[in-house]
Amino acid sequence: MKAKKILIAILPLVVFAILVMVFKSSLNKDPRELETKLVGSPVPSFKLASVTNPEVILTNDDLPKEIFLLNVWGTWCVSCYAEHPYLMKFAKEVPIKWVGMNYKDAPKDAINYLNKYGDPFVYSISDVSGQMGIDLGVYGAPETFIVDANGMIRDRHVGVIDERVWNSVIIPKLKAIGWEQN
C-alpha cells in the first residue's frame, strides 16, 4: 500500500522527465536540418504539368541551368502561409531562381493561392498525386532543396525559411557551392 502511494506521488514527475528527454533530443536534432539520401544525386525524373499553365508539361530539362532553389509548398500547409512573404521578398531582392513544387494540392487551390499571395516562382510543378514528393523524400512542407547547375541536389532545408534562416543557413550553403550574389 505504501509503495503504491509513493508510485502515484512520483508518477507525474517521471512522465515529465521522459517528456523533457524527448524535447531535449528533438532540440538537438532540429528537424529542419534533416539530411536527405538524395544529397549528391540528381533531382528525380519527373513529367508533370505546370500549375499556372496546366497545358505545359515540365520535365527535368526545364529546370534552370544554374544554381536554384526548389521549394515544396501546398495550400494545405499552414506554415507555407508564413513562409510565403519571405519567398516573395527574396525572389524580388536576390538574383536566384525559385522553382515551386506544389505538393498534393488541387490545382485550382494552388492557382488561387498564387494569385492571392503573389508568385515568387519561375514556375511551379504540379505534383497532385504526391509521387514526386515521395521520390524526393519530402515529409512535410515547406521544404527547400538547393540544386546546382547540373541538376544535382546539394542540400535540403526542412521548415520555414525566414529572414534569419535565409541569412544564417541558406546563403552560406549557397556560397559554399559556389553561388555568388552579384
Partner: protein, 659 residues
C-alpha cells in the same frame, strides 16, 4: 539612448526578480516579517521597471529608431502609428517582453488584491512568481534582447511588419492570449505556496479560484480572437486548423477548464486536493510548454517565431526547473494532502470527476496529436504529421460525452443526490431537444445529416436544461424575476458559461456541415446567380493608402430582387515588402456570413471570385464570449467582492490572519 535605458531597466528588473524570488521564501521559512513584506513592494517594483522598459521599446518603434535590430526588422517609416505601437509584439523578442510585462502585472495585482492571505502564504505566492520572472527576464536578456543595436551600419528604413499582422484582430489577440497564459502562473504560485505550507485547506482553493477564472476568461477571449482573425484574414473561410501553436494555446485552456471545475469541488467540499494541485501545476506547465513549442522551433507552424536551438534549450532548462521542482514538491508533500472522500456515487463530486476525466482525455488527444511527431521521431526516427483526420473524430468523441454529462452535472447536489427524478426529467428534455432539432433541420436545411442532428440535439438539450434549472430554482419565489435574483452570481456564471458551450457547438457543427462555397467568373456590369443570390459587378477602383495600394471591386448583392448589401473585396499591395494581400469582404449576419474574396483577374476586366456562405459561423465566437461572460459573472460573486472591500486596511488584515 532610449534603447539603452530600456535595456538598463530590464537588467534592474532581473536584479529585482532575484531579490523577490529568494528573500521572501527565506522570510516565510524563518517567520521574518520584514523579508515577507518585501515581496509586495518588490512585485510592484517589478511591474514598474518592466513597464518602463516596455515603454522604451515602444518609443524606439514610434521614433523609427532603425539602429535597433528588432525595430529595423519589424517596422517601417510608412507604417501607421497604431501598427508601430503594436509591432512591438509582432515577433519573438518584443512579444517576450510583453509576456514578462504581463507576468509582472499579475504579480502587482496579486500584491494589491490579496491582502486577505496570510503573510506567509502571500510571501510565498509572490516569491514563486518572482522566481518565474527571473527565468523569463534572463531569457530575454541573454538570448533575445529586443534592444540590440545594429551598429555601425544603420538601415535607412525598416523591413516592415508582416501585412498579416497589420490588422485589428492581431493587435488584440496576443495580449489577450498572454494574459491568459501568464495568468495561470498565479494559480501555479498558489499551488507551490500551498504545497510548501503542507496543508491545503479549503481557504486555499477559495483564494486560488477567482485568479484562475480571470486567467481563463482572458484565454477564452484570446483563443476566440485568434480564430476570428484566421477566419477573416487568411481568407479561406477556416476558423480552426489544429495547428501546433493553436493547440499549444488550446491545451492550457482545456486544463484550465478542468481546473476550474475541480477547484469548485476542493473549495466547497475539500475533495480532490492532490488532483487539483496537480492540475494547477499542469495548467501552467502547458502554458510554458506552449511557449517552448512556439519559441524553440521544434515544431513548424504559421505562428512559429524565428528559431534558435539555444533559445529552445534555455526554455527547456527553465521548464525543467520550474515544473520539475513543482512536481518534486508535489511528490514530497503527497502524503499530507488529505481529501474529504465523504460522497456517494450520485453526487456532484462524481460528476466533476467524470468532467475531469473527459476533459483530461480530450486534452490527451490534443497533446498526443501535437507531440506525436516529436515522439515518433525520438522513438522510431520516423517523420509523421498529424492533422484534422486525427483530431476531429477523437476530440469530438470526448466532447460529445462532455456535452452529454453537463445537463446532469450542473444540477446535481454535492455529496448525495437522487438519480431517478433527475434522469427522468433530463430525458424528457432530451426528447424535446431531439424533436426540436429534427424540426429545425427539416425546415431550414436541405439535407439531414447524422452528426449535426446529434450535436445540435445535445446543444439544445443543454440550453433547455439550463433554462429548466433556472426556472426550478426560482419556483419557490413570488415571481420568476424575484427567483432569478436570488440565484448567486457564481451559479449564474456556471449556467451562462454552459449556454456559451452549447452556442459554440451549434456554430461549429453547422458551419462545418452546411457551408456553401462557389467559384464564379464575373465581368463588369454582369449579374451572376449564386444559389438564391444575384451578384452584380458594379466597378473596379484603385486607391492609395499610407503603406499600400488597394484594388477594390464593388459588388452589389441582392436576394429575390431586393438589394441586400454592397461588398467591396480588395487586393492590397504593400509597398515596402511588395506583398500582395487579399482582403475578403464579409457581410456578417447572426445566422450566417456572406463572404466574397477576389481570386484572380481574368481577361477583359473579368475576375474570378470566391463566394462563400458560412451559416452560424459567428456563433462559434459568440459562444466563446458568452463563456467568458459566465466567468465574469462567477468572479463578480458577492463573496469575492465582500472580501476585497473589507480587507483593504492593514489593521483588519492582521485580525483576519490571526483568526
Amino acid at each position: 539612448m532610449i534603447p539603452e535605458l530600456g535595456h538598463f531597466f530590464l537588467i534592474l528588473a532581473l536584479i529585482n526578480a532575484i531579490v523577490l524570488g529568494s528573500l521572501p521564501f527565506y522570510g516565510a521559512h524563518t517567520q521574518h516579517s520584514g523579508l515577507m513584506r518585501l515581496a509586495s513592494k518588490a512585485s510592484i517594483g517589478q511591474f514598474v521597471l518592466l513597464l518602463a522598459s516596455y515603454i522604451c521599446l515602444t518609443l524606439a518603434f514610434v521614433q523609427d529608431d532603425f539602429s535597433v535590430a528588432y525595430v529595423a526588422n519589424h517596422s517601417n517609416t510608412l507604417l501607421p502609428l497604431r501598427y508601430k505601437i503594436t509591432a512591438v509584439w509582432g515577433s519573438h523578442e518584443g512579444s517576450l517582453l510583453l509576456w514578462i510585462l504581463i507576468l509582472s502585472g499579475w504579480m502587482a495585482a496579486v500584491a494589491i488584491f490579496s491582502k486577505a492571505l496570510t503573510a506567509v502564504m502571500r510571501a510565498r505566492v509572490l516569491a514563486t512568481l518572482g522566481f518565474l520572472s527571473i527565468g523569463f527576464v534572463s531569457f530575454a536578456l541573454f538570448t533575445s534582447n529586443p534592444f540590440e543595436r545594429v551598429l555601425p551600419f544603420i538601415p535607412i528604413d525598416g523591413a516592415d511588419l508582416n501585412p498579416l499582422l497589420q490588422d485589428f484582430g492581431m493587435i488584440v489577440h496576443p495580449p489577450m492570449l498572454y494574459m491568459g497564459f501568464v495568468g495561470f502562473a498565479v494559480v501555479f504560485a498558489f499551488a507551490i505556496a500551498g504545497l510548501l505550507q503542507g496543508d491545503l485547506d479549503q481557504k486555499w482553493a477559495k483564494w486560488a479560484r477567482p485568479w484562475t477564472t480571470v486567467a481563463w476568461i482572458f484565454l477564452t477571449i484570446g483563443i476566440a480572437l485568434g480564430s476570428w482573425w484566421a477566419y477573416y484574414e487568411l481568407g479561406w473561410g477556416g476558423w480552426w486548423f489544429w495547428d501546433p501553436v493553436e493547440n499549444a494555446s488550446f491545451m492550457p485552456w482545456i486544463a484550465g477548464t478542468a481546473l476550474l471545475h475541480s477547484l469548485a469541488a476542493t473549495e466547497k467540499r475539500g475533495a480532490y486536493k492532490s488532483w487539483t494541485v496537480l492540475l494547477a501545476i499542469l495548467t501552467f506547465s502547458l502554458s510554458l510548454l506552449g511557449t517552448f513549442l512556439v519559441r524553440s522551433g521544434v515544431l513548424t507552424s504559421v505562428h512559429a517565431f524565428a528559431t534558435d536551438p539555444e533559445r529552445g534549450l534555455f526554455i527547456l532548462t527553465f521548464l525543467g526547473f520550474a515544473v520539475g521542482g513543482a512536481l518534486t514538491l508535489y511528490a514530497w508533500q503527497f502524503d499530507k494532502l488529505k481529501s474529504n472522500n465523504n460522497y456517494t456515487l450520485f453526487s456532484k463530486e462524481i460528476a466533476i470527476v467524470l468532467n475531469n476525466i473527459l476533459l483530461f482525455s480530450s486534452l490527451l488527444v490534443v497533446f498526443l496529436g501535437t507531440l506525436y511527431p516529436l515522439l515518433a521521431d525520438y522513438l522510431w526516427e520516423k517523420k509523421v504529421s498529424i492533422g484534422p483526420p486525427f483530431f476531429d473524430p477523437y476530440f469530438s468523441f470526448f466532447f460529445a460525452l462532455i456535452l452529454f454529462l453537463i445537463p446532469f452535472g450542473q444540477q446535481m447536489n454535492w455529496k448525495q443526490d437522487k438519480l431517478k427524478p433527475l434522469l427522468l426529467k433530463q430525458f424528457i428534455l432530451l426528447a424535446v431537444a431531439v424533436i426540436l432539432t429534427l424540426a429545425l433541420i427539416a425546415l431550414f436545411a436541405d439535407k439531414i445529416l447524422l452528426w449535426p442532428v446529434v450535436a445540435i440535439s445535445l446543444a439544445l438539450w443543454l440550453i433547455l436544461s439550463c433554462i429548466n434549472y433556472l426556472v426550478n430554482q426560482s419556483s419557490n419565489a413570488q415571481s420568476l424575476f424575484a427567483g432569478l435574483k436570488k440565484i448567486s452570481r457564481s451559479y449564474w456564471g456556471m449556467i451562462v458559461a454552459h449556454i456559451g458551450v452549447a452556442i459554440t457547438v451549434i456554430g461549429v457543427i453547422i458551419t462545418s456541415f452546411y457551408s456553401i462555397e462557389k467559384d464564379i467568373r464575373i465581368e463588369p456590369q454582369q449579374i451572376v446567380k449564386v444559389e438564391n443570390l444575384s451578384i452584380k459587378f458594379e466597378k473596379f477602383d484603385n486607391f492609395t493608402f499610407e503603406n499600400y495600394i488597394s484594388s477594390q471591386a464593388t459588388l452589389k448583392v441582392s436576394k429575390n430582387g431586393r438589394h441586400l448589401t454592397t461588398l467591396k473585396p480588395e487586393k492590397r499591395r504593400y509597398r515596402v515588402s511588395g506583398q500582395l494581400m487579399t482582403e475578403a469582404a464579409i457581410e456578417p449576419g447572426f445566422f450566417g456570413d456572406l463572404y466574397i474574396s477576389l481570386a484572380q483577374p481574368l481577361d477583359k476586366g473579368a475576375w474570378a471570385i470566391k463566394v462563400y456562405y458560412k451559416p452560424f459561423v459567428r456563433w462559434i465566437w459568440l459562444g466563446a464570449l458568452i463563456m467568458a461572460l459566465g466567468g465574469l459573472l462567477a468572479v463578480s460573486d458577492k463573496r469575492y467582492r465582500a472580501r476585497r472591500f473589507k480587507k483593504v486596511s492593514p489593521k483588519k488584515e492582521s485580525i483576519i490572519n490571526e483568526s
